[in-house]
């Protein structure tokens, strides 16, 4: 027993547990069949070098899954003469894993080229569809203990990559030509003070013009496009301001060449270049976020086993019809809505109802798609499949809400909008003033120079930089923010709705108290032996860590809704709830019934161990609050947010959780659709609402809320609906992201202040006709530097 603990799996280095351990011919021990498989593959292909080179490999049994190729086959594209499959691989723990995957895949017949991105784990497989199938490729990945995943987001990684490349090329073009212009500008500035000859001045200006043209027209094209699109819909935004500034600087400078004045080509080019840099930073942070989210997604079943007269047949979920009978094994996700026709089991419906306790299902009971069958195989008659399931109606609600959701105008855009008005008004006033005083030319020159200096270069950096550094600080703590505007909305929230199961509580039962009536040691041994027979959440909670290797189990059976039965070391043992107790023990003491009722009221559950007809031990289990729950609530209240609990659970349970975590307002027995309703009501009352949840039933509310946050291992739909995904299930991270978002907003406001302070100084000069390009250049650079420095301070955020 003792020596087994020291042994580690030859492949994954996990500690070996006797029940699943296997050994090969040479006596190497493995934690499971899967790891032995990997070891054999590596040896037969001469890749055992992997074991020598892997560094930073974290011990732990890999996930061996069988992946259906359906979802992936739709992703295959033509690439030249071959086919291209783009996917993401998870389960990668070290750089050598990538080496291994690439080698192993490349050795498959028909695979032409494999490339795994070391930074994102995005994988490109070029292959010949005649010689190898998508299924083979996926199997070769999964048999090594890695999980191939399709991209969850609508855009394929190819399109995202093209967008990023396009921005980089435009930025590079802008940067290159701006640098050339700068050389000439320095000469012109110096010439202004040291009397440059008109010939050189004219020549340098002409060259600057030639260099600035590609910057404005090519690099600046996205802004021009954005302005045109905005104007068509009657919007003024940041693009408008940038285009206005850059093009007026450009056109004005051309005019000035022929009038012998000063030129602003450098300003025009720098504005565009620096703002492109801001855009590029925004794109990469968004891409990273969507990739992380798709890695968290679960792989839903795509096929079902249908019972036909000719035996059991595997068909795709799409082709199941009403009235078909399907078989669902323990541990599987139920793919359809229907009624149980054969078998008796327990089903985990927490993702749909929010209730942590598994529900017993017997003949005639309804089961729903996306719930998990826990204990026994069942057969289900299909009542609804595909689009008609309860799951799908929730997804539809989510999609409708998503489409309805109005885009939020960002602070920078809002400010720019007023600013454009302001600038145009001043420009107009300038024109009128100078026109009245007699000179049309002076009027024109000064009006345009107002427009030129009004465009703050730093404005383009103010928001993206703060958001980029802010989301970087967040992602270091395991928080993924899906877009810049979300940080703005987070900072303005006034009330926060928290789901109970899986968010405030762990979403699974844990042991809080044990009472022994007999021999303590023996009882624990029996329980851990019996617990290993079941994957039921209650059984997992009882896994006490004591070792039960010398216990012998003869015959065992699950009693759905009641517990398990087994013969351990020749003694008849039952482990289960009160129902089970009533069936196995003749006389139940009154005290036990009272205790049971008391505990049930609080949402706890009692499990009894009966050995040879006598109660031997009693376990009290509870879906416990996460450790940081009260810390979170306190923090939220301190920030002026009102925490509210919403749960599908019964009143007694929710009241208990609310009391212990210190929340004053709670809603119980809430149906999924009602959660979204509560959010809407709060919004109507003028609240800005954050919703935190993880289940399918939370998804409509996550979308409806101003910001949706999903915590820990959430369901696919919750991940997709949420704006913020917190990867680690730590409640205090919710407080952290709120604090961080407020910091980011403060930084953005400071940045905008600095960006505009440049205008406050330069616009009066321009109105007075006393501005010189060198003055505007110096102010532009200073305000940009201030903004950059100020934003970088956010990187220091390490939580509270």
């Amino acid at each position: 027993m003792e020596k087994n603990l020291k042994n580690r799996c030859r492949h994954c280095l996990a500690e070996i547990r006797d029940e699943t351990a296997v050994a090969d011919e040479e006596g190497n021990l493995f934690c499971c069949q899967g790891c032995l498989g990997v070891y054999r593959i590596l040896n037969s292909e001469g890749l055992e070098e992997f074991y020598r080179r892997r560094e930073g490999w974290e011990p732990g049994t890999p996930e061996f899954v069988s992946v259906e190729s359906g979802r992936f086959e739709r992703l295959v594209r033509r690439e030249g003469l071959h086919s291209l499959l783009e996917l993401t691989i998870t389960g990668i723990r070290c750089a050598s894993c990538i080496w291994l995957i690439e080698r192993h895949l490349a050795r498959a017949e028909g695979v032409i080229d494999v490339r795994v991105n070391y930074a994102t784990y995005a994988t490109r497989v070029v292959f010949d569809q005649e010689r190898v199938t998508v299924g083979d490729i996926l199997r070769r990945i999964s048999e090594l203990g890695y999980v191939p995943r399709p991209e969850l987001t609508g855009k394929s990684s190819g399109i995202i990559r093209e967008e990023a490349r396009d921005l980089l090329i435009r930025f590079g073009t802008g940067a290159f030509f701006s640098m050339q212009i700068m050389l000439l500008s320095v000469a012109l500035y110096a010439g202004y003070f040291q009397d440059i000859t008109p010939f050189y001045k004219r020549a340098f200006q002409l060259i600057s013009w030639a260099l600035a043209t590609p910057v404005v027209l090519y690099a600046g094209y996205p802004f021009i496009k954005g302005t045109v699109a905005g104007l068509k819909r009657g919007f003024l935004n940041m693009d408008t301001l940038i285009t206005l500034g850059a093009t007026s600087a450009y056109l004005f400078s051309i005019l000035m060449i022929f009038r012998g004045g000063e030129v602003y080509f450098d300003s025009a080019a720098m504005i565009i270049t620096i703002i492109l840099l801001g855009r590029y930073m925004e794109t990469i942070s968004r891409t990273k976020a969507s990739r992380v989210v798709s890695m968290l997604a679960e792989l839903a079943p795509e096929s079902v086993r249908v019972i036909t007269p000719g035996g059991i047949k595997k068909i795709s979920v799409d082709s199941v019809r009403k009235g078909d009978s399907v078989e669902i094994l323990p541990g599987e996700r139920i793919p359809v809505d229907g009624a149980v026709v054969e078998g008796e089991t327990e089903v985990d419906e927490s993702m749909l109802t929010g209730e942590a306790m598994p529900v017993r299902k017997a003949r005639g009971d309804e089961v729903y798609a996306a719930t998990i069958n826990l204990t026994n195989p069942i057969r289900v008659e299909v009542r609804a499949a595909g689009d008609e399931t309860v799951l799908n109606s929730i997804i539809r609600t989510v999609q409708e809400a998503q489409a309805r959701r109005a885009p939020v105008q960002r602070l920078a855009d809002r400010v720019s909008q007023y600013f454009v008005f302001f600038v145009t008004a001043i420009a107009l006033a300038t024109f009128i003033y100078w026109y009245r005083s007699g000179s049309v030319e002076a009027a024109l020159v000064n009006t345009v120079s107002v427009l030129v200096v009004a465009c703050p270069c730093a404005l383009g950096l103010a928001t993206p930089l703060a958001i980029l550094t802010g989301s970087q600080a967040a992602s270091r703590r395991g928080i993924v923010v899906k877009g810049g505007d979300i940080i703005e909305r987070l900072s303005g929230a006034t009330s926060i709705l928290l789901d109970k199961t899986g968010t405030l509580t762990r979403g699974q039962f844990s042991l809080i108290e044990t009472i022994f009536f007999g021999d303590r040691e023996k009882a624990l041994l029996i329980v851990s032996a019996m617990e290993s027979l079941s994957s039921h959440p209650v059984a997992r909670a009882l896994s006490s860590g004591s070792n039960a290797h010398d216990m012998q189990i003869r015959e065992h059976r699950t009693l759905p809704g009641r517990g398990i039965y087994a013969v351990v070391n020749g003694r008849v043992c039952y482990l289960g709830n009160l129902e089970m107790l009533k069936e196995t023990v003749e006389e139940i003491p009154e005290g036990i019934i009272t205790l049971h009722n008391e505990m049930t009221e609080k949402g706890r559950c009692l499990i009894f161990l009966v050995v040879d007809g006598k109660i031997d031990a009693l376990f009290i289990l509870s879906d416990e609050l996460r450790e940081q729950a009260d810390g979170l609530i306190e923090g939220l209240k301190g920030m002026g947010l009102e925490p509210v609990i919403v749960s599908g659970d019964t009143e007694g349970v929710v009241r208990e959780v609310a009391r212990r975590s210190g929340v004053d307002r709670w809603y119980s027995s809430v149906q999924p659709a009602e959660k979204a309703e509560i959010v809407r009501e709060l919004k109507k009352m003028g609240h800005s609402v954050i919703m935190v949840g993880d289940g399918i039933n939370d998804a409509p509310a996550l979308i409806e809320a101003d910001v949706g946050i999903s915590l820990g291992r959430a369901t696919d739909i919750a991940l997709e609906s949420a704006d913020v995904v917190i990867i680690r299930p730590e409640l205090l991270l919710i407080r952290d992201i709120l604090v961080l978002s407020r910091k980011v907003m403060r930084t953005i406001k400071q940045n905008l202040f600095w960006a505009f302070s440049y205008n406050i100084i330069t616009i009066p000069l321009a109105v007075a006709g006393r501005i010189h390009p060198i003055v505007s250049a110096i102010f532009m650079v200073t305000s940009s530097l201030v903004v950059v420095g100020n934003s970088l301070r956010l990187l220091k955020f390490r939580g509270i």
């Binding site: 032409i112 080229d113 930074a119 980089l168 290159f176 050339q180 050389l183």
Partner: protein, 49 residues
């Protein structure tokens, strides 16, 4: 007098060369995976391209 313009031209050409290399680098995907090269350079065997 023309040396000034010659120098401007030379600087432009030099810069242009760098610019073209940059464009080529982006297009051939060298900015897509900033992590990979430090590991790949240590692999001697490189089968099937």
């Amino acid at each position: 007098m023309w040396t000034v313009f010659l120098l401007i031209f030379v600087v432009f050409i030099l810069g242009m060369a760098g610019y073209l290399v940059y464009i080529w680098a982006i297009k051939s995907g060298q900015y897509d995976d900033p992590e990979g090269p430090k590991y790949r350079m240590l692999d001697d065997e490189d089968e099937k391209g």
